[in-house]
């Protein structure tokens, strides 16, 4: 029961507790519901607020972004270690990098390398010291490599005391920087300029305090203090203090006050100082934005300039005076030849007034058509800045032409541009007339000279030819056993003819020498032989006279010498002849000495002393002059008066010298010195001795071409006397005909002949195929003109002999030339081939060594011959250089086989190709050469066979 009660109570308690709990839960549920309601509302509210907040945030962010984007500055954030965290888009425009390219990069990569270290240090310090904001400018590199100056403000951003990032606003300050630099440079430059200016400068502010003054200013005004210490000093009394330096002190002070009052620029005022110097003053007020801020004084010492200007002014006045009084007409034209200015004198010259001339075209008004070109050619030089002088005719107003010499020069403006020209005209009409007359006179003189020359040439032929016959005939008459009386007559005849001959020879020689037609020959001769012959000739002459002739020859002189023996002979004959002429009794002494021995030259001195009448001291200077005979009135000593002049000329020509010493009544000594070369040749028999004909000449054949019958006879007699076979041809044409028919050993060729002269005949013989193509031809020339002699060589003659000639002269020639062809061991074969092969050369080269010669011929035929066709190729290719070289190379091989003519043809090809190559001409030369070569081949082959035959 007790237990039931207990349980009842327990259940009751439990039920009550449950109800209580339910009630609590009910209350709590309601509270919960209400709380939920409120929460829901709250939530809605919150959502609204959040949404609104987000919107506001977005709006604000957008505004910020727009702000950042819209600024013209680069805004960026970097980490404290310097890496870009954010960059605005302006960077693209400013530096060319995109935002993405920069994020993550280190800022220093954008900095010009030399500035990196400094900049990094700067910002490291900023971070260390936590400076809130800094400004720095530096040069940065754009993406395209350009450099821009960046000025940036950097701010640090801190969170909880830690620097999290740095924000920078960067701006392109290049322009600013450039301007700043330029300004600084300008400022420095200006200051330096003013300080160092060669002018005294003083700058004062509006209260007349010194801002800047330079050393030169202090010097000018005698201020002892250094310029720097004057800065800031008051200048208001300075004029008063310095006025004593000026000539007009009161005026100086008053003027300064006036200038300061007016504040207007005044330049180049000149001030005279007490000490004589001249100063030039500039006053320049300084205004800044319309406000007066001071002024600048500039003083320049122009004393020198002033003096020079004074001088110039005076000299200008002087020259103007001179110009006006001179006979020079000045004319200025512009580039179109339009007259700009005509000076008084020019107006007078042409008879126009200044007004009539100005503005006119000068060529139209003053020039005849004839001289337009002269003017234009000269005026064309002016634009190039070149001056020139020329002569031409201009027309006066009245139409009369006058001759003027014009000196034209370009006129330039201050920039050096040619604006026209100035012509100085000088009237030379009178001179021109004179010139014209002079030219006329000259022409007359020239004609006269020409006539004289012609006359001399004619003389040469017309007088010498008969004279030759007279002398020649006289020689022959001596051989006809004359009676004693006849012998005497012949002697007189001979002496007179000889004198006449020498007289004409002298005249002609002088003419030749003066015309420069004498050539110094150089061939070997026996000097001692020549001297001894001369000695003997005069000894014979002096027989029966009380005059002794001695000759002493230096023992060192012997053998053959190379030089002009004919000239030497003439000189000796003249000088010894003179001595003989003027010496009545006593001695003539000839001394020959070897004076000097140089490398190749021997100087030999000849001294001819006599005991004759002597020469007066006052005439000594004249004796070598033409036509100056010391004793012209003495008929006994008649002469041309040319002997000594010719002698001197001949010595000069050879490079020698002559001097004379004399004492009147005691005697005269002529000394001359001549250069010779030593010759290796042996002495040949003296041609001046009368010779017997050697057996060598017997059996040889001579062709004589001579139209003059007397000469024909003279030569015939001589040749007959020597038993030499000959044929006479009475003109050139006949001579050629005869030469074509048979071979001769020598041809004697007169020059002046009818039908065909000696030159033409020689050319024909030398250049046509005939047996005498290589026969020696010796000219017989009556003309003493040396130019004719040189012509003989040119046409292919071997030598010449001047008519009249002595018998042994002719003999010498015959021996010299015939001897050569006779050296050939086999005359029969030789005569067959002489025309084609140069046996003289072959003999020289090979002598008797036939096998050597055979080798050479063999080589030529089998090897060298193959090289010739290349010449044709080179001509077609116009390769002149190679052609010249090939011809040069092949040329000597032709000489080696005796083809002398072909050798010369190749030489012509060589020189033509080198100097003046023309295809047509070279082709012709080669065609000729080729023909000759083709013709020569069988001859060479035949010669080779002969050479290979065993010697008999």
């Amino acid at each position: 029961m007790e237990e039931v009660e207990l349980l009842k109570r327990r259940v009751d308690r439990e039920r009550k507790a449950r109800l209580q709990a339910e009630a609590i839960l009910e209350t709590k549920a309601l509270e919960l519901y209400k709380a939920n309601e409120q929460l829901s509302l709250l939530n809605q509210n919150l959502e609204q607020q959040v949404k609104q907040g987000i919107e506001e945030l977005q709006e604000s962010e957008k505004r910020h972004r727009e702000l950042i984007e819209s600024v013209q500055d680069i805004i960026y954030k970097i980490s404290p270690s310097g890496y870009f965290l954010f960059v605005n888009s302006v960077v693209q425009e400013r530096l060319g990098y995109s935002e993405n390219e920069l994020i993550g990069q280190h800022f220093s990569t954008l900095v010009v390398p030399e500035f990196r270290q400094e900049l990094i240090a700067f910002y490291r310090q900023m971070i260390e010291e936590k400076q809130q904001s800094t400004y720095k400018d530096f040069p940065a590199l754009k993406k395209n490599g350009e450099v821009v100056w960046i000025g940036q403000t950097v701010r640090i951003i801190e969170q909880a005391g830690q620097i999290t990032e740095l924000v920078a606003v960067a701006r392109d300050v290049t322009e600013l920087k450039t301007t700043e630099d330029a300004l600084r440079t300008t400022q420095t430059r200006l200051t330096t300029l003013i300080t160092n200016l060669q002018k005294g400068v003083l700058v004062e502010d509006e209260y007349r305090r010194i801002i800047l003054v330079n050393q030169l200013f202090c010097d000018l005004f005698g201020i002892p203090a250094p310029p720097d210490t004057l800065k800031g000093l008051d200048c208001s009394q300075s004029a008063e203090q310095s006025k004593h330096l000026f000539k007009n002190p009161e005026q100086f002070v008053a003027r300064i006050e006036d200038l300061l009052l007016k504040r207007e620029i005044v330049v180049e005022e000149e001030l005279e100082m007490v000490d004589g110097r001249i100063l030039q003053r500039d006053y320049i007020p300084i205004f800044l934005e319309g406000h007066y801020r001071g002024h600048l004084w500039k003083y320049a010492d122009i004393t020198e300039k002033h003096l020079i200007r004074e001088q110039i002014r005076k000299s200008e006045e002087k020259y103007r005076g001179i110009m006006n009084n001179m006979e020079l007409g000045l004319l200025e034209v512009d580039n179109d030849q339009r007259i700009v200015r005509a000076y008084d004198r020019f107006c007078k010259l042409v008879g126009y007034t200044q007004e009539e001339l100005i503005g006119k075209l000068a060529p139209e008004l003053l020039i005849t058509r004839e001289f337009e070109e002269v003017l234009n050619n000269n005026q064309a030089l002016r634009p190039k800045g070149t001056a020139s002088s020329y002569e031409m005719q201009i027309l006066k107003k009245d139409g009369t032409p006058i001759w003027v010499i014009i000196s034209g020069a370009p006129i330039m403006d201050e920039h050096g541009k040619v604006t026209g020209s100035m012509g100085i005209h000088y009237d030379i009409t009178d001179r021109k007339v004179l010139e014209h007359e002079l030219a006329l006179a000259k022409q007359i003189a020239e004609d006269a000279r020409q006539a004289e020359k012609q006359f001399l040439a004619n003389m040469s032929h017309e007088i010498r030819t008969p004279l030759n016959a007279i002398i020649g005939m006289t020689h022959l008459l001596f051989d006809t056993r004359p009676t004693k009386q006849q012998f005497e007559f012949l002697e007189i005849l001979k002496t007179s003819a000889d004198f006449l001959h020498s007289l004409i020879s002298d005249l002609l020689d002088m003419a030749k020498i003066e015309a420069g037609r004498i050539e110094v020959q150089n061939h070997p001769f026996d000097l001692v032989g020549l001297l001894r012959t001369t000695q003997r000739v005069f000894q014979i002459k002096l027989q029966n006279r009380p005059v002794e002739l001695d000759m002493m020859i230096d023992a060192r002189i012997s053998g053959m010498y190379s030089g002009d023996d004919l000239m030497l002979n003439q000189i000796l004959l003249n000088l010894i002849g003179n001595a003989e002429k003027f010496t009545e009794e006593g001695t003539i002494e000839i001394t020959v000495k070897l004076k000097k021995e140089e490398e190749n030259t021997l100087w030999i001195e000849f001294k001819i002393s006599d005991t004759g009448i002597g020469i007066p001291a006052n005439k000594l200077d004249e004796i070598f002059q033409k036509f100056k005979q010391v004793n012209a009135n003495n008929h006994k000593h008649k002469g041309t008066g040319l002997g000594l002049a010719i002698t001197k000329q001949l010595i000069d020509l050879q490079g020698g010298s002559i001097s004379v010493k004399s004492r009147e009544g005691e005697g005269t000594t002529f000394t001359f010195m001549l250069p010779f070369q030593k010759s290796d040749l042996d002495v040949v028999p003296d041609t001046f001795e009368i010779q017997k004909v050697s057996s060598d000449l017997l059996g040889c054949k001579v062709l004589v071409a001579e139209d003059n019958l007397m000469n024909q006879k003279y030569i015939s007699s001589l040749l007959n006397k020597w038993d030499i076979d000959f044929v006479i041809a009475s003109d050139g044409k006949k001579a050629v005909e005869k030469a074509q028919k048979q071979a001769f050993d020598i041809i004697l060729m007169d020059i002046q002949m009818p039908n065909m002269d000696g030159y033409e005949a020689t050319i024909t013989i030398r250049n046509t195929k005939n047996p005498n193509q290589h026969t020696p031809i010796v000219a017989l020339t009556a003309s003493a003109m040396l130019d004719q002699k040189s012509k003989t060589k040119l046409v292919g003659m071997d030598d010449f002999i001047t008519k009249p000639f002595a018998p042994n002269q002719l003999l010498g020639i015959l021996k010299r030339y015939i001897k050569i062809s006779n050296t050939d061991s086999n005359p029969q074969t030789s005569s067959n081939y002489t025309t084609q092969l140069d046996h003289t050369r072959l003999q020289e080269m090979y002598g008797d060594d036939k096998s050597y010669a055979a080798d050479m011929f063999q080589t030529f035929l089998s090897n060298v011959l193959l090289e010739f066709p290349a010449i044709q190729d080179l001509i077609l290719q116009n390769d002149w250089e190679s052609l010249s070289k090939l011809a040069h190379k092949l040329k000597p091989t032709l000489g080696m086989v005796g083809l002398t003519k072909l050798e010369l043809q190749l030489l012509e090809i060589e020189t033509t190709a080198k100097e003046n190559p023309k295809e047509e001409q070279l082709q012709k030369l080669w065609d000729d050469a080729q023909n000759s070569l083709n013709a020569a081949i069988p001859i060479l082959q035949k010669e080779l066979v002969q050479l290979q035959e065993p010697t008999q």
Binding site: L6, R9, R10, R13, A17, Q20, A21, I24, L25, K28
Partner: protein, 178 residues
């Protein structure tokens, strides 16, 4: 005082002494609530003091021992009911350390009218924890029991020294040494 303290107290009394003792205590103790408790309700704390004093008198077991025993019992109940609070701490000291800053904070949120004691906790070293207990209720013995329950739950052995700093028991220091 939360209703659970009363309901669990009656559970423990019923377990130890039978429902008769529960009935006796309800019948013989002056209780404004009439001895009817639900875990979700809130009741005057003096009623539990009266009930404990009544039990002590009837069982001759001193009040502090009863409170300690009840604390120990209650923690066990808590481990059953509020298991979620006990899952993350790995040891007793960690759990005890989190009482004031975590558990009491959460309890206050759930029961705004709850009057909770204040704890200052000092971790001297790995093996020593000092807990200072402050409460007007002066129920340090009950706390002692709860600490013992805690150690039991984490199967840890430690000596708990309880020393009243204030004589009235409003500030008591526990030194727990493992």
């Amino acid at each position: 005082m939360k209703g659970i303290v009363f309901t669990e107290f009656f559970e423990m009394v019923e377990e130890e002494f039978g429902y008769e003792m529960v009935d006796t205590l309800v019948e013989t103790t002056v209780l404004p609530s009439g001895g009817i408790y639900t875990a979700v309700g809130t009741y005057d704390y003096n009623e539990i003091i009266s009930l404990v004093a009544n039990l002590s008198q009837r069982t001759q077991i001193p009040v502090p021992a009863l409170l300690r025993a009840y604390g120990k019992y209650l923690f066990k109940s808590f481990t059953r009911i509020y298991n979620r609070f006990l899952q993350s701490p790995s040891d007793a000291f960690t759990f005890l350390g989190s009482i004031h800053n975590y558990i009491h904070v959460e309890v206050q949120k759930l029961y705004p009218d709850a009057e909770l004691p204040h704890f200052d906790i000092e971790r001297v070293d790995d093996n020593t924890l000092i807990m200072n207990y402050y409460s007007k209720r002066k129920m340090a013995d009950f706390a002692h029991g709860l600490i013992e329950g805690t150690l039991l739950h984490f199967s840890e052995n430690a000596t708990i020294t309880q020393q009243a700093i204030k004589e009235d028991g409003s500030h008591v220091q526990f030194v727990i040494v493992k």
